[in-house]
Amino acid sequence: LETVPTIKALRSKAEAIRAAEFEKAVSRLGDGLSKKQLKAVEELSKGIVNKLLHGPMTALRCDGTDPEAVGQTLSNMEALERMFQLSQVDVTAMAGKQ
């Protein structure tokens, strides 16, 4: 459960990146797109984020029964918070910064 805020922070970070890139693309694409095409482009952006984050997200979830697994989950969490600088995103996350 310690990893819950990290999951949220990682989701927020990824969504911010996705939304910014999507907006940029939409402004470049202009009005020439149908609603359906625009939807397909948005699905593309979400698909990439989801597929890319599936591994890290899975690594943040494990039931807290096996003590070894818990340790690994926590070290995954710390690594992700360092790498994605999530401590700036979420105040409840207490990550070591570089």
């Binding site: 819950v4 805020p5 949220k8 699905e43 989801n50 597929k51 984050l53 997200m57 899975t58 979830r61």
Partner: protein
């Protein structure tokens, strides 16, 4: 809000607004959707009558889309309260039209508006309805998103156990292929 109820509401509204002696096929101007509208459901129902035959989209459908668009814009401007009004309108119209796809959009918009205004319980309720509609129409695009956002809400309320349950559902779905 069972689907049958929504459908009958639409039927009743149309029946009330449609007196049998009104065959005037006057060329009603394409509605330049008003940005503010006092009583959306009733006025929309009246418009329906006239535009049904001429327009590809009924006035209700146009107003519903317009309300969704306005809501999204307001969400982008982080104006949760104003966005909520638009999405409420879209929700009523979509229910009257028995248009589940639009209703799902309205519910998503309401959830986002509620999050912006820190009404997390209410946001979760709207997202539960989103998932329900997905099952009803057999089309699950955005369900991973919905689970993730519900978990985010539980996280914001400090209910980490619940959040974990919903993050697991989210993670389970995020690697699946969407519709091709």
């Amino acid at each position: 809000p069972a689907p049958a109820a929504a459908a009958s509401v639409a039927a009743v509204t149309v029946a009330v607004a449609a007196p049998p002696a009104a065959p005037t096929p006057a060329p009603v101007a394409a509605p330049a959707v008003p940005s503010t509208s006092a009583s959306p459901s009733s006025s929309a129902a009246v418009n329906t009558l006239f535009s049904m035959e001429e327009e590809e989209l009924s006035s209700d459908q146009i107003q519903c889309k317009e309300a969704l668009r306005a809501g999204k814009r307001l969400l982008k401007e982080k104006n949760g309260a104003a966005a909520m009004v638009r999405f409420e309108k879209a929700l009523m119209l979509s229910k009257a039209l028995a248009d589940k796809v639009q209703e799902r959009r309205a519910q998503r918009g309401l959830a986002a508006s509620c999050r912006l205004t820190h009404q997390y319980r209410q946001a979760i309720k709207h997202l539960e309805r989103v998932l329900e509609i997905s099952r009803e129409i057999g089309e699950y695009t955005g369900d991973a998103d919905a689970y993730g956002t519900m978990a985010d809400c539980y996280t914001d309320m400090g209910e980490f156990e619940k959040a974990a349950v919903y993050y697991d559902k989210y993670i389970e779905r995020m690697n699946r292929d969407g519709p091709i």
